[in-house]
């Protein structure tokens, strides 16, 4: 309970990804975001996701990642459900099966796969970035790029605030439990949200006062205790990434984003399984969350 981890934050380590300069990683995340959102073939996106998972495993951040992914899953299941019955595709849709009031469409299954894989893979890559980047380094990098102080501050602080909010949540749940309030399941979660946010506002206020008192964001040259340098490896990787991105976008252009929505025909049972799976998955995750809070 006390180390209930909902959202990923920095995981200290010395892996390859930890050692890369944040600039390199930011370019990768932005590149992946663009690429994945133009690719329309679920198989390619799936392959990309597998690569990301391997990288996460190699960075020793898989446990934290898995915990944060839990938060994303209800959204994914919801997305699959709605896409199958009402695809984000131009009509006419090809019906595959009928389940009570719901008609399941082939285009729906296709777009459900593409959209959910896109979200999962990009989110995973972004999480990998957050988990392997020291928040202070992110701030330094953003300032180096000329991002305004306020925006750099907002981004960095938000990431740093996550563990604080988690702690606050646990304190409030314990306090409610010690006052004999129901402290398990979702009914306990709801009344604690308001105090958590009220507490969070106070925290942020105090935090900004502290940071300003330490001359954070003041004028003049800045130094860093963390010797943050763009290595030869970083420069090489950035150049290679840019070349690769140009290549990828050329391929995407001539292949029209590998759109296979017309070729891929899904069998009706697959659509039904996916559809029911999304409903079961959605509620399953909720039950799992509720049980985790209980323990």
């Amino acid at each position: 309970m006390n180390n209930m981890q909902l959202i990923a934050n920095y995981v200290p380590g010395k892996s390859f990804f930890h050692r890369l300069h944040p600039s390199t990683k930011i370019i990768w995340v932005l590149g992946a975001l663009l690429t994945v959102f133009f690719i329309k073939d679920p198989l390619i996106i799936f392959a990309f996701l597998v690569v990301v998972l391997v990288l996460i495993k190699a960075s020793n951040t898989f446990a934290t990642y898995r915990a944060s992914l839990m938060l994303l899953l209800p959204i994914i299941f919801g997305l699959i459900f709605f896409q199958i019955v009402a695809p984000a595709f131009p009509k006419p849709w090809t019906p595959l099966a009928r389940l009570g009031p719901f008609v399941l469409y082939n285009e729906g299954v296709y777009s459900a796969l593409v959209l959910s894989l896109r979200i999962i893979s990009v989110a995973s890559f972004a999480l990998l970035f957050i988990m392997t980047t020291y928040p202070g380094d992110l701030f330094t990098t953003m300032r180096m790029w000329g991002v305004p102080y306020e925006i750099s501050f907002m981004v960095t602080t938000t990431i740093q605030l996550i563990p604080i909010l988690q702690k606050e949540m646990n304190i409030i749940l314990s306090a409610q439990r010690s006052r004999a309030m129901q402290a398990s399941g979702f009914s306990a979660l709801l009344p604690s949200i308001i105090p958590v946010f009220a507490g969070a506002i106070e925290r942020v206020r105090q935090m900004s006062m502290t940071l300003e008192s330490r001359a954070f964001g003041s004028s003049g040259k800045k130094t860093s205790i963390r010797q943050l340098k763009m290595g030869t490896l970083d420069y090489t990787l950035i150049i290679l990434t840019i070349i690769a991105l140009i290549g990828i976008f050329y391929l995407l252009w001539i292949n029209q984003g590998f759109d296979r929505s017309q070729q891929m025909i899904f069998p009706a049972p697959a659509a039904i399984i996916l559809f029911l799976g999304s409903i079961i998955g959605f509620f399953g995750i909720l039950v799992l969350f509720a049980r985790r809070i209980k323990n």
Binding site: R214, A215, G220, K222, T223
Partner: protein
């Protein structure tokens, strides 16, 4: 002190300072006037709610810049108005230690916490390492560099906050009840550290504190606040000898002074100026009861 002060410019000049929090009906500070000269060690004494924190926060511009409310009067730090200079620039002159230690730790490691201020001042890497080492040694946290501040005890967190402010070598260090979570020995240590900074580096120190014994021993000057008003401002020997005023405000004098005061009331012949520290008391009271 007074002789040299005449020649020096005050480093802090508070003129008619009043402040009312946006959510409050009454003013937290009413018409405060005082000056502090470079190298002074000033203690602010008062009950909870007397305005100590408000006064401390005014000294680097957090009030009125980051706290909503109505401010009147001026607060000048080295001639610069706290209304005009952003807190982050003022931080180069005024170091600040807040009263709740946990909230003021923002970094992932103890080392990073102390480094934060130094990074923002642009201190070169090598010197940064020396200063961090020094600051952590002074507050007794050496060897914990890689620890997360969240895993420290309350007292350790408070000392870390002091180290972080101190390492920036500010000309003025303002501390708002920095020893509330410390045990008696820890308190003593903090006060000794502050005295050393004051004597050796000539750092001006303004500290809000409850503990009268330590104030009597270390401070050059005591300012007493009561419900937002400045009641007294003077050297501790003078302030603490006014036992009536102090007890009327619900505060305490050092026990040795109280002791002398009560004896005097019973008709004992004691010096006009009562001692305020234990050492002084031993000198002044010896012989009072007669020797065996």
């Amino acid at each position: 002190m007074t002789a040299t002060n005449a020649a020096k410019e005050p480093i802090i000049r508070v003129e008619g300072l009043s402040f009312k929090y946006a959510t409050a009906t009454e003013k937290a500070l009413k018409e405060i006037n005082f000056t502090v000269f470079p190298g002074e060690y000033v203690a602010i004494l008062g009950l909870s709610g007397a305005g100590k924190t408000t006064l401390c926060l005014s000294l680097n511009g957090i009030i009125p810049q980051m706290v909503m409310g109505e401010k009147e009067g001026r607060c000048l730090i080295k001639g610069q108005d706290t209304d005009e200079v952003p807190v982050r620039e003022m931080a180069k002159t005024v170091g600040m230690v807040f009263d709740n230690p946990e909230y003021q730790l923002t970094q992932l490691t103890v080392e990073g916490e102390v480094a934060l201020g130094l990074e923002n001042l642009g201190i070169p890497y090598e010197e940064m390492l020396t200063r961090i080492k020094e600051a952590l040694k002074v507050v007794g946290l050496e060897g914990l560099e890689e620890r997360s501040p969240m895993q420290l005890s309350g007292g350790q967190q408070q000392r870390l906050a002091i180290a972080a402010a101190m390492a920036m070598y500010p000309e003025i260090l303002v501390l708002d009840e920095p020893t509330t979570n410390l045990d008696p020995i820890g308190k003593e240590e903090v006060f000794e550290v502050l005295q050393r900074l004051n004597r050796e580096k000539g750092m001006t120190i303004v500290i809000a504190e409850h503990e009268v014994e330590v104030i009597a021993e270390y401070a050059d000057r005591v300012i007493i606040l009561d419900r937002g008003e400045l009641i007294t401002n003077g050297p501790p020997a003078e302030v603490f000898n006014d036992v009536e005023t102090i007890s009327r405000l619900g505060l305490r004098t050092p026990q040795v002074t109280e002791f002398g005061y009560r004896l005097k009331k019973k008709g004992h012949n004691l010096p006009e100026q009562l001692p305020i520290t234990l050492q002084d008391a031993v000198k002044k009271y010896s012989g009072v009861g007669g020797k065996k």
